[in-house]
Amino acid sequence: MGGWAIAVHGGAGVDPNLPKERQEEGMRLLGRCVDVGISALRSNIPAIDVVELVVRELETDPLFNSGRGSVLTENGTVEMEAIIMDGPKRRCGAVSGLTTVKNPISLARLVMDKSPHSYLAFSGAEEFAEKQGVELVDNEYFITENNVAMLKLAKEANSIVFDYRIPAPGTVGCAVVDKEGRCAAATSTGGLMNKMRGRIGDSPLIGCGTYACELCGVSCTGEGEAIIRSTLAREVAAVMEYKGLNLHEAVDFVIRNRLDEGKAGLIALSKKGEVACGFNTTGMFRGCATEDGFMEVGIW
């Protein structure tokens, strides 16, 4: 026990009929991200930097629902949110409503490190981004053909598309514990396909979609409403803290008992170097590795 560990996810709720190439593409990307994380951890880079690094990779790749490749609002635009949390002192930074920031997770980091606040959104966040000199691009940069087509489908079906009902890409996240036992978690997303303008989901809400403390780091994905109502990420840590459950027991308990009719998944790791994932959806894109050489990437 002990040592570093890393877990990543690319969304819970996967269409069982997802074409093989898409499945493989997703697993390859996650595998690559895990490798990026492993190299960083072997170079003694702290957990908080590793989660940012890895999520940047996921945002930059158009495959999953974050950064480029984000799903579209009802107006056909992109509004992104992200959050990063540093376990040791539970410092955090979150952003919502971003439209031009190339890497939302890095802006979330700057909110945590360079502002007196924990959460900035919409034009205030964009203004902060400009002042901080982060890379800005046109909204079009984030929009992919796939998502334009999916928005059309969603509008025809007159629905808000949850990750798993129509094959829409998933939120991304990463949790890491480094050699010193410090945990960190980060999540980034474009939200729900066909969402109302101004809609904020579970991802940037500390304790709901993302959480990290002395004991563990957690990143969730799935039905935002269910994750918020169950304060899912905090729940994992709370049962460890207040009920003395270990990581696996905590994840199991929470997924089994806290979601009611909701569908969601999460990745989690503990300061002892344990990794766990749980989901009550059909599949979750995920990958993980621990210092003792264990590595796994999977969907089902």
């Binding site: 002192k89 539970r90 410092r91 955090c92 979150a94 919502s96 409503g97 502002s115 007196p116 606040h117 924990s118 959460y119 900035l120 959104a121 919409f122 034009s123 205030g124 966040a125 964009e126 203004e127 902060f128 808000i160 729900l192 969402k195 109302m196 303008r197 101004g198 809609r199 904020i200 989901g201 809400l205 500390i206 304790g207 709901c208 959480y211 935002g224 409403e225 918020i228 109502r229 169950s230 304060t231 905090r234 729940e235 709370a238 049962v239 207040y242 009920k243």
Partner: protein
């Protein structure tokens, strides 16, 4: 058991030397809002309606940091946020970045009831308010002279002030007339439980004095400033960033559930865990208990239970 209600007008460094002309109107407002809540329960309203009603009253009152009387951003504008949650169903609604909506809490309720989402913010939220026909006014309606003064002080001191900070030390030492400038305002909130154990919570705020544009605090973050489930309903106030990190509202319920503590014990425990001077909360449980702990100098608060007990306070025992 009967119904119970508790409400707050903000926790912080409220000086014991608060002059009567600042204290009395706030006590009167608390009394008035408590009365509204009591009347609503007597008329058999659901706790969600009671909580919303009471918070609307607090928002309309210019002496509290919500709705009219909201503190100002670093640009001299208001950006209001609110959150409401039903304990039984755990349905919730939240809004942020409002600039023209007279009652943010009512918009939060509409988000909960009329959209497939939980949280709307900024322009999207404002557009939704208009669609729903909610009362909107020119932003200037919310801005009060006291808050213009508070912003000025904060900017001169180069800081972002929590709801209830004292002005900079030198001003206090000089005994300046505005020494009590910052210390009487804060987030507002109400928690309510009926005789059947149905719980609800509602919180509303203008946020932090001199905050950055776009800054979101603890109030609209479910589990941080606001939370209700089948065990209890909680509304927190104080330094947003500390309440967020401490997932204060959620933890009260978690500690009750996982450690088997009573509401009072759980609430006191959680407030004890966050840094001194940052947090206060009001909470009621499904069995009609009331708790109003705070680790700040004071917290504007009031509560009442069906058996006729009622209380209005600012300082005194922190473990009520």
């Amino acid at each position: 058991m009967g119904w119970a209600i508790a409400l707050h007008g903000g926790a912080g460094d409220i000086p014991l030397s608060l002059p009567p002309e600042r204290r009395l109107p706030r006590e009167a407002a608390l009394r008035h809002c408590l009365g509204i809540g009591i009347a609503a329960f007597k008329a058999h309203k659901h706790p969600l309606d009671v909580a919303e009603l009471v918070v609307r009253e607090l928002e309309n009152h210019p002496n509290f940091n919500a709705g009219r009387g909201s503190v100002l951003t670093n640009s001299g504008t208001v950006e209001m946020e609110a959150c409401i949650m039903d304990g039984k169903t755990k349905k919730c609604g939240a809004v942020s970045g409002l600039t023209t909506v007279v009652n943010a809490i009512s918009l939060a309720r509409l988000v909960m009831e009329k959209t497939p989402h939980i949280y709307l913010a900024f322009e999207g939220a404002e557009a939704f308010a208009r669609e729903q026909g909610l009362e909107t006014v020119d932003s200037s309606y919310f801005i009060t002279p006291e808050n213009i003064e508070r912003l000025k002080q904060a900017q001169e001191a180069h800081r972002v002030q929590i709801d209830y900070t004292q002005p900079v030390q030198k001003e206090v030492k000089n005994g300046a007339a505005n020494a009590d400038g910052d210390s009487q305002i804060g987030t507002v909130g109400c928690v309510a439980v009926d005789s059947e154990g149905n719980l609800a919570t509602a919180t509303s705020t203008g946020g932090l004095v001199n905050k950055m544009l776009g800054r979101i605090g603890d109030t609209p973050i479910i589990g941080a400033g606001t939370y209700a489930n089948h065990l209890c309903a909680v509304s927190a106030t104080g330094r947003g960033e500390a309440i967020i990190r401490g997932t204060v509202a959620r933890d009260v319920a978690a500690v009750m559930e996982f450690k088997g503590l009573s509401l009072k014990e759980a609430a006191a425990y959680v407030v004890d865990q966050v840094p001194r001077g940052t947090t206060g909360l009001v909470a009621v449980s499904s069995t009609g208990e009331v708790a109003m702990p705070f680790n700040t100098t004071g917290m504007f608060r009031a509560c009442a239970t069906e058996d006729g007990y009622s209380e209005i306070a600012i300082w005194d025992s922190p473990s009520k």
